[in-house]
Symmetry: C2
Subunit: 485 residues, 2 copies
């Protein structure tokens, strides 16, 4: 159910309230031209209805997914499969693989701060997985804030079309606020505490969480929410380092062989290295960035994530996990396997295997095919996918021997809605939109065991259905919250 406000009510009455709440409560994006100003983050005006049972289902699956990807990251199999991708993508996957291969860190603990993304198939009303993100997942901070904002607007009576300031959504249970801002913080804090407990001489005030960041981050305030929570809820301090700063300002311990890492200027030990960059080629804008990644990987801090955890999030791995024989390597429990599989849509490799042959045929059919497909390379961060009828032409522009680093994924049939409004840069728009549900999870593990594995909140992103990409920061999408129905 959506409020029935007129567009005048939305623009004149609701929008100022929305802007003012957002600016007053840090639901904002950085202004690239000035450090002392900020602007409202892209959001929706209303929360978007999501069936309660769909949300429950996605939430209940998260720990199983966390564990699956943890086990993948621990496997020899991952390294073998990744090696096969190197020839067609030597500059990115190739480099990550080479570093992972020779990594010699004495730290056995690894951390995953994950987000599994879903679309809802409009026929079955079931969640279908878009992708599983294992590195630098964003919006855990802003997701909680947009939920608070929608709840505030409801409490204020701003969603009442009669103008009588009644609450449009009645029960508070209907508008859950995502716990992601505190739960993802808790994940990092668990890593920090575990690091301390194994290095018993590392006092809390002598160690930090190092956020590895882009030099000019637009989505800064999403990250700041986590930094502030770390300090406020756990008394844990953080520092922010670009790759280049990390290389210059961090050194290994001289007093042992563990390569414990110390920030030279402050003398603080890096307990956790938390990547909010490093997932795409452009993030390694100089040779020093690559050196920094390797330096950090080999150090003793707990990495969120390690290279192998990052590689486990490859699109190719996602494709392979849809094959029963592969999934069975990692998941014994038949029921768990079924639950995971139910969220998968068909994904084809584009190689010389029988399934790959089939994939190639479907890919080249383009629109002619009964089903619709999206072609995805080994990339993250949006803007790399090729859709539907664009696929044949795109593939033909490539050397066929490189096709095997792409996957061909069935398009999830999601129902666009025209009842919400998007607000971007202070401007309203109303157009057909689709919403993508993200479920956060945190996991701390080593080769032997899982130390903690938790659900960590949710995210709803809403974007024009005309845009195939849903990146909020890139300017296409908005942060939304759920109204459970």
């Amino acid at each position: 159910p959506f409020p029935k406000l007129s567009s005048t009510q939305v623009e004149k009455t609701l929008l100022p309230q929305l802007n003012q709440w957002a600016l007053s409560n840090g639901l904002i994006m950085a202004d690239k031209t000035s450090g002392s100003t900020a602007k409202v983050a892209p959001t929706t005006v209303f929360p978007t209805p999501v069936p309660a049972k769909v949300f429950e289902q996605a939430k209940n699956l998260q720990k199983t997914f966390n564990q699956l990807y943890a086990q993948v990251s621990n496997s020899e199999w991952l390294m073998e499969e990744t090696e096969k991708l190197v020839h067609s993508d030597p500059d990115f996957t190739g480099k990550l693989y080479a570093m992972a291969k020779k990594s010699a860190s004495k730290q056995t603990l690894k951390m995953g701060l994950f987000r599994s993304d879903y679309l809802i198939d409009q026929h079955s009303e079931e969640i279908k997985q878009v992708e599983f993100n294992t590195v630098s997942v964003s919006f855990a901070g802003l997701s909680s804030k947009v939920g608070e904002m929608h709840s505030f607007l409801n409490s204020l009576g701003a969603y009442d079309a009669s103008g009588e300031m009644k609450m449009f959504y009645e029960g508070m249970g209907e508008l859950p606020v995502s716990e992601s801002s505190v739960f993802m913080t808790r994940g990092l804090a668990r890593g920090f505490t575990m690091y301390q407990s194994v290095n018993s001489e590392t006092k809390k005030e002598k160690a930090v969480v190092a956020f590895i960041v882009e030099p000019n981050e637009t989505n800064l305030y999403d990250q700041k929410a986590i930094e502030f929570n770390l300090l406020r809820l756990y008394g844990i301090r953080s520092i922010r380092l670009t790759f280049e700063e990390a290389l210059q300002d961090v050194e290994y311990s001289s007093f042992d062989d563990n390569k414990r890492m110390f920030h030279k200027k402050t003398g603080k030990e890096l307990a956790v290295v938390y990547y909010r960059t490093g997932y795409t080629t452009g993030d390694y804008y100089s040779d020093d960035c690559w050196k920094a990644r390797e330096f950090l990987e080999n150090g003793y801090a707990i990495k969120a994530p390690t290279l192998d955890v990052q590689l486990a999030g490859a699109k190719k791995v996602q494709q392979l996990l849809t094959q029963d024989d592969v999934l069975s390597k990692f998941v014994d429990d038949e029921e768990a396997k079924q639950k995971l599989t139910k969220t998968f849509v068909k994904i084809y490799p584009l190689d010389d295997s029988p399934l790959g042959q089939e994939g190639k045929k479907l890919a080249l059919q383009g629109e002619a095919s009964k089903k619709q497909y999206v072609l995805k390379p080994q990339r993250e961060g949006g803007g790399n996918n090729v859709y539907k009828s664009d696929i044949p032409k795109f593939l033909k522009s490539l050397d066929e021997k490189d096709w095997d680093s792409y996957i061909l994924m069935e398009l999830i049939d999601v129902k666009p809605s025209t009842e919400n409004y998007l607000v971007r840069d202070g401007k309203l728009s109303r157009e057909p939109v689709v919403s993508e549900l993200g479920i956060y999870g945190t996991i701390l593990f080593d080769a032997e065991s899982i130390r903690s594995n938790e659900y960590a909140g949710s995210l709803l992103r809403t974007k024009p259905s005309s845009s195939n990409e849903g990146g909020v920061v890139a300017g296409f999408g908005t942060v939304d919250s759920m109204c459970l129905v």
Copy 2:
């Protein structure tokens, strides 16, 4: 004690942290050109040392001052004295007086949200009262936030010049966070609840606090903090109305003679009318603004403040209260009277009384006088005072019969410091500054009794000592917090 950071440390390391905390937590000012952006409010970089005993003293006096001004507002004496000011200021004091005189509201309860401002005399180290504000006192919201920010920067280790991220201020008691944001909200909430309890059929969800505001308020987010607290802590909703909107959109009850006020669009009853405008001539920019003030004054809502409470805050009243015979009319208790008097500096009228004659003589001496003086008209909001040697020339430009609406006040001898930094519009400056301590108070009363009377938090404002005016919004001053020493 001030942190010993180099100016490079302040600029490169601390300032970005300060900006980011401020933007993320609503320590901001509105951007007049866009509703979807905001900028960091003017603040200091460090908290400013204030002797703990001085703060205690100011705090302990607040309820006595609240009560004093409440009694003044109830008195015939106030009306008589105000009448004498009319001839020289017919357009402002005159109009307020005329409306107060014929006010016929059936509401007997009045509310004061006050702030008593002090400077510290550098010789005695005692507080001396600058003025007592009875209308539209600001910064209760931002004051709490700047304290939280300074505490955050301390916890982060950002005040440690060694770069080792140690906490510069040790105990948390040293950096008290002003309770003004919640305590001033509580004051309004008490008024709201009292209104409900005497009009038992007024349900909480059917009534609101009406903020009477300027059309384009720069200090919007200070007010929003109170609005959000009202809803979050008390479930009380508010609406914002300019004078013109109030006149157009509010109507008296048709079903009784009490002139209960209802907001036409929402149907909500105005339980409390809270003025954040109306204290200076420019706030009444059209005839309708004056009409609105009168309309609201005569209505049944509890006003914060009523016209008489506002008039009690006149500079002339402040001058008269420094005379023992006048103060004794309102304060019986000898000890209380002494405590109040101790915070007064000498203030002269400029009339034909013996004290007035003396005042005129001193005023015309200018710099030649041993003591230094400031000349103040019956105005609020800054920018109206005349200082030191400018006084004789200014007075001579006036008709002598109008001098009696001015007061001549001894300048408080405050010690400038050069150890703090001011941040305004993202730019740092370091120059001699002085700090003014404000103590908030809330009081709810009628002609018979005081229903509640409370201390309501503190404010420290710091401004260049070269500027004689301390208005934060006007661009001269900054919001600061205390480090108790």
